[in-house]
Subunit: 628 residues, 2 copies
């Protein structure tokens, strides 16, 4: 019998020829999830074959490039008469770090990603041989350089004083042979750098997700598009306010606005330094960057007051911004590197959404209606097809990011990400990230906990504990009841991990805000959830989320599970796409211009929808047939 070995855990198992890889994994005790029911559509079971004679098939969730690299669907791959070594990508193993894994890219629809021959980064390098100066030719160094450039790029290129200063020397260093790095855009073209000689030099770019809570910076080799590394850290603005409103309040004084700008730049530049150190590369070879963040984060990065985002009629200073130079905004890469900042649609639908949409069918010419939902402290929702696109935002509160809950935490090592509660004993089986001793509970854990408390009958549809059932796990203090997730001796910190009814209420409010935003918007479009072709779910916790749990508590609608597509940190993925091909920048611009922004807070029907959703799963149970 062939042996199948799983990396990085190094567990192995002997299985008969013909066994599906996903079953081999199960037998070996390696958990691979397949929420699509092994249909090969969700892409969650993708693994890499490092030894073994097998080839994957390109699919919606597996790009041509990924197949070349040996990635396959575990649910679609059969063990033949040879030994296999299988590498489980971090994300597939459900043991993901907080950082989105490089493998995320495999899950972008393959046809969206350009092939290598279609890569169009913002900065192009051109090898030139500039003519020598001739007596009385009436040509300056700049004239001859531009002439030579014009033979390669049919645009007038602006040369800044910095490069004029180098030009005379560079032209004469290697007999007129030099490499020009040029930024070409519809409206603006300029010289980013010049170097003597024709030596093929490395070029890099950064895709950046600028989140309210955390910031991810991804280093990409260009023009190949290869992702070299992704690093993530908390946004250092957190100490000035945990959410957008907190930051806006903090920014009211000019010196504090400046402080917020410096804090996010410090976060960026710290992560960039980390990449530079780890990969031993020259900072000046990072020639471009894309930053996608919500409207407030973008304003704070640029030092623009976010004050009027908070005040009616909620007007940002900018939605669209021209290309900026890295040096001008304070990004510590090549100072002339063009930086694309993803355009926003409104005060509460920002560049993270217009970037994220690029990973979905909403960016295609499809007639089918698709829905995109980004779940975080704010929920952003986009619904549309090739004829219309509507968008709105709602405030969910920080519960889904582990905030506003005593024992809440971010989705990192030691966070409880799944909870199963025994209906009889009330004892929970906890699953933590990295299998560590529990330190707290993260967003997916909270959803799992709520779903389990509800389906095992420990709480009712209003989220209240049945005080008639005495149980050591339920504590009642005054009018408040608590559920004990872990005793002090079970937890990493030594403190018991408790969740209160009031906290559960917060979570119910959060899920109600998101669900009702979806239902109201569809209502206004006169369609139901069943009309949605694909339901894309983005967000930091997208990786860990259990779909059934979400439906159990009524966060997501009770529709065909195959329609759900978890796309993870789509703001980062979209940034990557914008970085490797500027055609996406045009697409994004066109997309954001097509989007109509709705302000739900002014719609009188919103409160009705919201109130109706303040139950588990919903007041109207006919909406959740599988849980009645």
């Amino acid at each position: 019998m062939p042996t199948v070995r799983f990396l990085p855990s190094n567990q192995s198992v002997d299985v008969p020829v013909g066994t599906e890889l996903i079953d081999a994994a199960l037998k070996a005790g390696v958990e691979i999830s397949a929420p699509c029911g092994t249909k090969g559509t969700c892409g969650k079971c993708v693994v890499k074959v490092t030894e073994g004679d097998v080839k994957g098939e390109e699919s919606l969730s597996l790009s041509k490039e990924a197949v070349k690299e040996g990635y396959v669907h575990a649910c679609k791959t059969i063990v033949r008469n040879r030994n296999f070594t299988i590498e489980i990508p971090q994300q597939t193993s459900k043991r993901s770090q907080f950082a989105p894994s490089e493998h995320d890219l495999m899950r972008i629809k393959a046809e969206l990603l350009p092939g290598e021959w279609e890569m169009h980064p913002m900065v192009k390098s051109v090898a030139l041989v500039v003519d020598k100066p001739q007596p009385e030719d009436g040509q300056s160094d700049l004239d001859r350089f531009l002439q030579s450039l014009r033979n390669n790029i049919e645009k007038d290129i602006k040369v800044s004083l910095d490069y004029l200063k180098q030009l005379a020397i560079t032209l004469r260093q290697d007999n007129g042979r030099l490499t020009a790095f040029v930024f070409c855009h519809e409206e603006e073209n300029y010289l980013v750098d010049i170097k003597p000689g024709h030596e093929k030099s490395d070029q890099y770019g950064l895709a950046i997700d600028l989140g309210t809570t955390s910031v991810s910076v991804q280093l990409v080799s260009l023009p190949s598009g290869k992702i070299l590394k992704t690093v993530t850290d908390y946004n250092q603005q957190i100490s000035c306010g945990v959410d957008i409103i907190g930051r806006i309040n903090y920014a009211q004084r000019p010196d504090r606005l400046e402080e917020l700008k410096n804090r996010v730049l410090k976060t960026f530049n710290g992560l960039i330094q980390k990449l530079i150190d780890e990969l031993q590369l020259e900072r000046e070879k990072i020639y471009s960057a894309v930053i996608s963040g919500n409207t407030t984060m973008t304003h704070l990065l640029l030092g623009l007051t976010p004050e009027y985002i908070r005040l009616e009629p909620y007007t940002p200073t900018i939605l669209n911004l021209e290309i900026q130079k890295a040096g001008e905004i304070g990004l510590n890469i090549h100072p002339h590197a063009p930086v694309h900042i993803s355009p926003a649609v409104g005060s509460y639908v920002g560049g993270d959404i217009t970037a994220g949409l690029l990973c979905t069918d909403l960016a295609s010419d499809s007639e089918e209606i698709n829905l995109f939902l980004d779940i975080g402290t704010n929920g952003e929702l986009v619904v549309g097809n090739n004829e219309f696109i509507m968008t709105c935002a709602c405030s969910a509160g920080p519960a889904f990011e582990g905030g506003g809950i005593m024992c809440g935490m971010r989705a990192s090592g030691g966070a409880i990400e799944s909870v199963k509660i025994d209906a009889e004993t009330g004892v929970p089986v906890l699953k933590t990230i990295h299998g560590a001793k529990p330190q707290g509970i993260c967003g997916s854990g909270i959803i799992s906990l709520l779903a389990s408390l509800f389906s095992s009958g420990w709480i009712d549809s209003a989220g209240k504990f049945d005080r008639s059932r005495l149980n050591p796990r339920i504590r009642v203090e005054g009018r408040q009841a608590f559920y004990l997730l872990a005793n002090g001796d079970e937890s990493e910190t030594g403190n018991p991990l408790l969740i209160s009814e009031a906290e559960i209420e917060n979570v119910i409010r959060a899920k109600a805000a998101i669900y009702s935003a979806c239902s109201l918007m569809l209502n206004q479009l006169d369609i139901g959830f069943e009309s949605i072709a694909s339901f894309y779910i983005a967000g930091g916790f997208g990786h860990f989320l259990n779909l059934e749990d979400c439906i159990t508590i009524g966060l997501l609608p009770d529709i065909d599970r195959n329609k759900f597509k978890f796309i993870g940190n789509s703001s980062l993925l979209g940034s990557y796409m914008l970085l490797i091909s500027k055609e996406y920048q045009q697409k994004q611009k066109a997309l954001s211009n097509r989007m109509t922004y709705l302000d739900l807070s002014t719609d009188p029907a919103y409160m009705d929808h919201y109130t109706a959703a303040l139950f588990l799963p919903h007041t109207d149970l006919s909406r959740f047939p599988s849980h009645t």
Copy 2:
């Protein structure tokens, strides 16, 4: 009889009705020159009538505006039956400071200067009322601002981060009323400033002549075009080399190149500070500037290496430069103020020449062939008409700027500007600037001295003293002879002022270089000096120069005196024109593109022409009929 009073000297005279003003001046002992022989063409006798019923007539040398202000030709104005008060402009009085007087402008051909309604400064101020934001209008502050601007200016205006930062506040400060200052150009348009409200605010510009020896900065009120003040100082680079070649040599080390840049900026910014202090104005209200200088000076200002200007094939880094921002080049005015730097034609024909040409008929559509000569350490020459324009440069040495001569000095107070020597006694009659005790001799004085020594027979046509004539004014030491201009007790410094044969030889070389450049170029065009319609003479000493002296020594050709037009510091005048109307910038660009640059140093005939000119006035006396 009417009384005519002359200011500022306050001399007055009673003259019969019908007397010409120029004769009244003569009678009063006030010297007004009229090199055109009172034909009203040279403009040298222009005065201002501050009391008296008389009106001037617009002419080639008197603009409509000047007439409105009371300027008249003294040679064309008759005293009627009323008292007159006449103000003698500095320049007309032949008592000019080194600084070019504001009156210079009167001498530009009137039709070249735009009327007030044609003024087009680079920066336009626009009063806007920007709509208030509306709920769900999908418009950012920037969108509404640009929309409002688009109603006034049909161009897309780039708004830099600096102003995006102010936009939200400025829009809300006075109910959307604000004033935008916009730079509009063919290729680039950007916001220079925004201010809340519609208060009519002052706007200023700077016209700058960047000379190798001295720098003049002229403050102009815009859009009226009124010249408020002109200040002049030595270029602080002088201590790093007195001439261009010296500066280029000094600039070979990068730190010294930086030093040269800083020195000229210090000169500029010192003069700007002086203007700001004296006129008590806000620095930030200076919204534009024009700088005209030779190619090397421009390179040094921008920190560009001038090395290859000095080396064959004499190639500058730039000839044409796009508009720069004041802050980027280090000019201490509004940091976003656009700065136009006059384009060069070659390494030795720079922006001072392309600016200066704007004051001449060479910039018009005339079929007549005109010649423009800028005399300084380098001589630059332009000949052409509406079909062709040729230009070349020659190195005259510093003699005409008072350099390279022991007792030489700049044309400032105490400088001998004219010398008349008695043919019998050898005793000189000296005229100094401001009538002060002589300190030294300036360029015009040197020419006058040489002419007088020659025409009174003290030197021969080779510039040698007749050693057979003993005279207390002639000293012979070894093989060298000297002429004593002033004894120690006659001079300001207490030292005798002497000029040596070797120094006279230097001056002859300088005049030979310039004359032979002119004659060679005309030779190549197959025309003679008589074919020139107007012979424009520009340069720092243009004001003081005695035409006959120049012809006597053979610096200028012996042609109809009326063809000579002294246009003074035409680099500054041209800069003024470029400042008040950007149409001149287009004209200048077109003009410089049309110009063909000749390198005389490579022409074998040059040495013949030069050698032939090394006599007073010339080897070929038939060229100087009035002096044979």
